[in-house]
Structures are given as C-alpha cells and as structure tokens.
C-alpha cells in the first residue's frame, strides 16, 4: 500500500529532524524510535501485495493456492526480529543517557564538550 509507505517515510523524516535538532538526549532517543517505527512500516509495506492475505494456513484459506494468495513472508520475518533488536538498542542508549547524567548532572547535549572540535 503506497499510503502506508509514504506515511512511514514521513515518520522517518520527522524522526531524523528530531534527532538532528533536539538538544535533549532523551528526545534524541525518542527520535530514533520514531525512525525505527517508520522504517518498519516501509519494509512491511513493500512486502504487501494487494488482495492477498497473511501467510498463515488456517480454515479460512484452506485449499487455496498458497503461491497465489499469500503475501511475501520474508519482510515480516525481518521486521519481527528488527523490532526486538530495536528494544535492546533503545535500552542500551537509555543506560548510556543515565550514565551521562550521572557524569555531568545534565541531559542537554551542549554540556558535553570534551570531544567537540
């Protein structure tokens, strides 16, 4: 569905904008998770084919030709694992943010100037 892939693209753009312009570290992480969601929407919508159904054989689709009635299962599988990894990465980033807060007592990105050039 083109609508959903455009929606995912807009979400990616908004998340990127947020990551680049926000000064608060937590807001940057939120921007990252928005990018994540948008990217997953785009990938799954590429696998969709109009008029077809989910690749699960049950009573509702019994006897139909699987090759002609199912969508592509590979993007679903990829995204499924990507979501779990996204959670782990978010948790790791948040722990870094907590550590940075302990170090400088601040979450604003301007206060971290050791590596500035």
């Amino acid at each position: 569905m083109t609508v959903i892939s455009i929606l995912g693209f807009i979400l990616i753009i908004i998340g990127l904008w947020g990551m680049l312009t926000q000064k608060n570290i937590i807001k940057m992480i939120i921007g990252f998770s928005i990018i994540d969601t948008g990217l997953h929407l785009v990938i799954v919508s590429i696998g969709f084919i109009k008029g077809r159904t989910a690749p699960i054989i049950s009573k509702a689709v019994e006897g139909l030709d699987t090759g002609k009635n199912f969508i592509d299962p590979v993007p679903s599988a990829l995204v499924l694992t990507a979501i779990v990894i996204g959670l782990a990465i978010t948790a790791l980033m948040l722990v870094y943010a907590v550590k940075l807060f302990r170090f400088k007592r601040s979450l604003q990105i301007e206060d971290f100037e050791e590596l500035k050039w």
Partner: protein, 91 residues
C-alpha cells in the same frame, strides 16, 4: 438491497465512529494539562483500538488476528499501570 448489505454498511459506520473516538481522545492527549489526563486518553485509545482490531479480523475473515487483540489489551494495561506507578513513585 438485502439485509446483509445493510448490515455491512452499519458495521462500516460503527468502525468509523470508533476511529473518530480515537481522534477525539487524541485531542485530549494534545491538550491534556497533566500527565494523568494523557494516560487516561491513552487508556481509552487502546480499548478502542482493540475494537478496531476485532473489526478488521471480522471483515477479512481471519480469526487468528484475534490473538493480536489479546496481546494488545494485556500490554496496554501494563503500560498504563507503569505510568501510574511512576507518578506515585512506586518503582
């Protein structure tokens, strides 16, 4: 027009009404002066979203989609409780 076609139209209208319910609660999420208001609006939105998931399962004829609604209801309950416990410093 036979009765099942009319019924389909009524189901569609009901789904649209549910979606507009989500929109209205989202307005409360935008306005909500406190965090508790926003959490209430999140709660209502998830319940309406469960109804919409069941509607999708019905019109596409795939009963297995109902499992998604179950997980959804459960986890959203946890989210609201977590926000409440964060507010009252219970972690």
């Amino acid at each position: 027009m036979d009765s099942s076609a009319i019924a389909k139209v009524i189901y569609d209208i009901s789904a649209l009404m549910a979606v507009s319910g989500i929109v209205l609660s989202f307005i409360r999420l935008i306005k909500g002066p406190t965090i508790a208001d926003r959490a209430v609006s999140l709660d209502v939105m998830t319940i309406i979203a469960i109804s919409i998931i069941v509607y999708i399962a019905a019109i596409t004829g795939r009963i297995i989609y109902l499992d998604v609604a179950l997980v959804y209801g459960l986890i959203s309950f946890l989210g609201v409780v977590a926000i409440a416990r964060y507010l009252e410093r219970g972690f």
